[in-house]
Symmetry: D3
Subunit: 136 residues, 6 copies
């Protein structure tokens, strides 16, 4: 019996969408207001969903406290109140679009979970725009 267990969390951060190897005009053309060199920011809402078998002893797929701690160490401590471009190493050479942030979070969290557990990351950049990634 495969059950998916999900937990919501959030962090807020500044970012800028641009490529260092493009000039300002091309970045402005592709990324528009998101290319503001002084940065803008978001409240990112995260849903981490873990799928696996129910443990017959505990009735848990994963102890929610364990999942909460992995989110805290891998996401909140790493990203919250940060400038993603300047202070988070994964984005030194990677454009911090919602898509790329979701993939980075997936890779960081997946490595901390039992290998028989599947993971899906859903990330809201604004209340109206969100992305999801499950390693496929």
């Amino acid at each position: 019996m495969k059950v998916t267990v999900s937990r919501k969390a959030h962090f807020n951060a500044a970012h800028r969408l641009y490529r260092k190897d493009w000039n300002f005009e091309k970045n402005e053309d592709i990324f528009g207001k998101c290319n503001n060199p002084n940065f803008h920011g978001h409240n990112y809402e995260l849903i981490a969903s873990v799928t696996g078998d129910i443990d017959k002893e505990t009735g848990y797929v994963i102890d929610m406290k364990v999942l909460k701690d992995i989110i805290k160490s891998e996401v909140e401590d790493a990203f919250d109140h940060k400038n993603l471009n300047l202070e988070v190493p994964e984005f030194t050479d990677l454009n911090p679009t919602a898509e790329n942030i979701a993939v980075v979070i997936y890779n960081k969290m997946k490595s901390k979970l039992d290998s028989n557990l599947e993971l899906e990351i859903t990330l809201y950049e604004t209340p109206r725009n969100f992305v999801s990634y499950s390693g496929r």
Copy 2:
């Protein structure tokens, strides 16, 4: 790396659920209050979800502005503040249930997207009732 990018939108409209080839009693029996000949209405909340590979140059699956424009031209301009039965051609002979509206939106939007992108439509008819369709 397949990522799903979703955007929320909304429109409001009047509609009536009934079949022209049934008499009033049969429509009343099947569709109840939704068969009101004077119409009733809803705030429809839409989530359009597009799945595809991340473009390595931009970090986008699809530019959110492109997705927003397709939603505007195919859904908002066509349905918002309209009477679905009387003013939207797709429903001249098709009962505007939430299921059928979702399929119509899917077909209209899918034809505007690159063929290598998948689409899923989620449509809230009320805060408690919603449907989803992904072309399968």
Copy 3:
């Protein structure tokens, strides 16, 4: 000790904003898309808030079941799945703007409550637009 007790409810309805004593052009100019002669519609979300003293015996300001029943008889049964212009007598000669609907709901519900209870009506016409009225 004055406490306010609130209950959420909802109904959906069709309506048209216009004045019978104006011509179509003037109605179109003032009410825009809301003047569609074929009607449009909304999911109206209602919050009814009743303020009064806590009853020392029960610990209630008002029994929520009583409030729920008043909302049902005065609002849901009267407005749900209706065409406000054609089927709700209060709007025969009153434009069913959110403001006017809130006042009508206030007057209907206030008359069913103990006179020492205050009432405030909050009405969402869409998730982004709402009005409130408390009889002042």
Copy 4:
């Protein structure tokens, strides 16, 4: 054309997470505050999602009133305002974790649906923690 139709519902209940065959210390170690022998409780928010073909006559996958009635008889009447451990037979020997509650709801509802309809249960234990199960 497979469409998924979803309806939200809710119930509130008391519960305690523990195993009768473990001593208090082991239960405390594994289940923490959730092992409170005096119980605690939740507002459980349920989303029941039914997938099937659109009926060409009605335009429905399932009449929402039918789905609402199944939720009422199988979930709300059985669980609402109850102590899950003491008053719901399915949990006499089954730990009422969110995972196990979702499986129990799935089994109860699935048996009432046409066999060609698929079912997925999503259950929020708190606004931040939720699980889903679809019989796989």
Copy 5:
């Protein structure tokens, strides 16, 4: 310049509505399903709103961390995962209706705030029912 600063928090708990000095039938008549002797429970959502002048030096009415700590010590540590009737002293002889819980929270938190700050407590017992109290 008076500004109101609000913070949301939550706790979950079991409770039973009844009076010890009434017999079971009278309690059942007045409190219905809420009189279940085995208890039921809720996710209580709290909004604590503090009104005062903006401090010209910091630009704060109150440091959100201070407000968060008061909510934690006075509400979360005292009520979360508890049986309100059996484990929270304030309800030994006080019926734990939403109204009375809001007043208890108000009194506990008010005593920890500077006397020149006003407080309003809003407490959701379910997503559809909530109460508010501001000491008047």
Copy 6:
């Protein structure tokens, strides 16, 4: 008959909380993570609430399109995708706390409204923290 009409809007921005006339240590002590010199950011959710008499001709307190346009020119065009400290003149010498942002928005919008209309600004800095200001 005084009715309050509210409209939601949003913008996202980067900011830093600090005073130029304090050294880094004092700013760090008072503003903690919010003093990050590389900035962080938020999705700010705005509710602008306008109170006045219902116009007997139109049934409106204020035309929602007028309110929407004032929000766009005074708030969205001025703040969205901006760095509040570096790019919004009002915050050159004013710490952009939620409290101060609400007061600035109030002052900008109030000057564009008829003088007989009252205004209240509610501003969510995160889904859990918000402030409100009504000129008193």
